[in-house]
């Protein structure tokens, strides 16, 4: 029998509430149009297409490509600023708590089925998301430009499954004018979406693990963000429960700042000696020996 680990239920609720709040222009879904207010100039932390009918903010990956593709921008200071700030504050907490497409994958993984843990090229394939970030998000939009000097958002156009799910499908359903001009690219993107959603039932967050350029960007901050996992080495018995409970394939007792950790908190919830904690740390406060003793005492009881 497969052991069931405790899961952070608060996170699922938070993800749902955040998705609804950040896509709160509900009229858009009915009328097949998008919100056009000034809040659209502000980037949201997660991969949330700005052409989603309900979206109140801008997708950082879409905005980054828009800036790189624009003729007049030499370096995308504005969107890079958002990415640096979100990254420094949260790291990949954004993936775990503030990404609508991550939430959808989490929900699909709850469907009872045979689950795939890790496999031969799992760790190697995780680097693919950096290739997606470098090639589709940065290089192609900034280098391949038309006669007017304007580029194309390659990731949005050819790949982004979040855009297809949250923008393409609802807009085409509600807007007959758009439906009339749909063609090959939409079918291609639908195939990618179906593949990723189908895989998500068996494999935990395949898009986040292998393909998401935003996850790649935030993963660079996991070692340097305010929000961190902290391991009390004195309390840790290296029992391996945290590693087994982690759906992202991380071993928090060895690498609490692993780039793949989405800070879901499942390891913290399952640690029998409470050696792991998560929160905003400035790094000044050291865990005192008496605190460790308290934890061990509680675990023994």
């Amino acid at each position: 029998m497969v052991k069931q680990y405790k899961r952070n239920k608060f996170r699922n609720w938070f993800q749902g509430v955040w998705t609804v709040v950040s896509n709160g222009y509900l009229v858009g879904f009915v009328k097949g149009r998008i919100w056009q207010g000034d809040s659209k100039s502000v980037c949201v932390p997660g991969l949330n297409c700005y052409s989603c009918p309900g979206a109140l903010g801008a997708c950082p990956i879409g905005s980054l490509q828009a800036e790189l593709a624009a003729r007049e921008v030499k370096f995308p200071l504005y969107v890079t600023g958002f990415l640096l700030a979100f990254g420094a504050l949260f790291g990949r907490v954004v993936c775990g708590f503030l990404c609508p497409f991550g939430w959808v994958q989490d929900l699909l993984y709850k469907i009872p089925s045979r689950k795939i843990g890790t496999f031969k090229y799992d760790r190697l394939l995780r680097y693919l998301k950096f290739v997606v970030l470098a090639v589709l998000v940065v290089l192609l939009p900034s280098l391949v430009k038309n006669a007017a000097g304007v580029g194309t958002p390659w990731f949005c156009k050819w790949f982004c499954p979040s855009g297809t799910l949250f923008a393409g499908i609802p807009l085409l359903l509600a807007n007959p004018t758009l439906r009339a001009v749909v063609g090959f690219i939409f079918s291609w993107k639908m195939a990618i979406l179906i593949l990723i959603l189908g895989l998500s039932v068996f494999l935990y967050r395949p898009f986040c693990k292998y393909l998401c350029p935003l996850g790649a960007a935030y993963s660079l901050f996991n070692k340097a963000s305010f929000y961190r996992l902290k391991l009390d080495e004195n309390a840790c018995t290296h029992c391996g429960v945290c590693k087994q409970a982690c759906n992202m394939g991380v071993d928090p007792s060895q690498t609490p700042d692993d780039m793949e950790c989405i800070r879901c908190g499942d390891c913290v919830k399952n640690c029998p000696t409470k050696a792991l904690s998560a929160g905003f740390f400035t790094g000044r406060r050291k865990i005192q020996p008496e605190e460790t003793e308290d934890k061990i005492e509680t675990a023994v009881q």
Binding site: T80, L83, T282
Partner: protein, 47 residues
Amino acid sequence: MKTAKRALPFVLLALGAGFLVLGIFDGEVAIVLSRAANICLECIGIG
């Protein structure tokens, strides 16, 4: 070394805030807004 590690998130946050302000003065807000406030045909698989 430890001090540098402790300072890193503060440095990154300050850098992010600095970039944001410079981007605002550089007129990049209008570029993001014009892109985000109009239906992106590429994003929905039409363009």
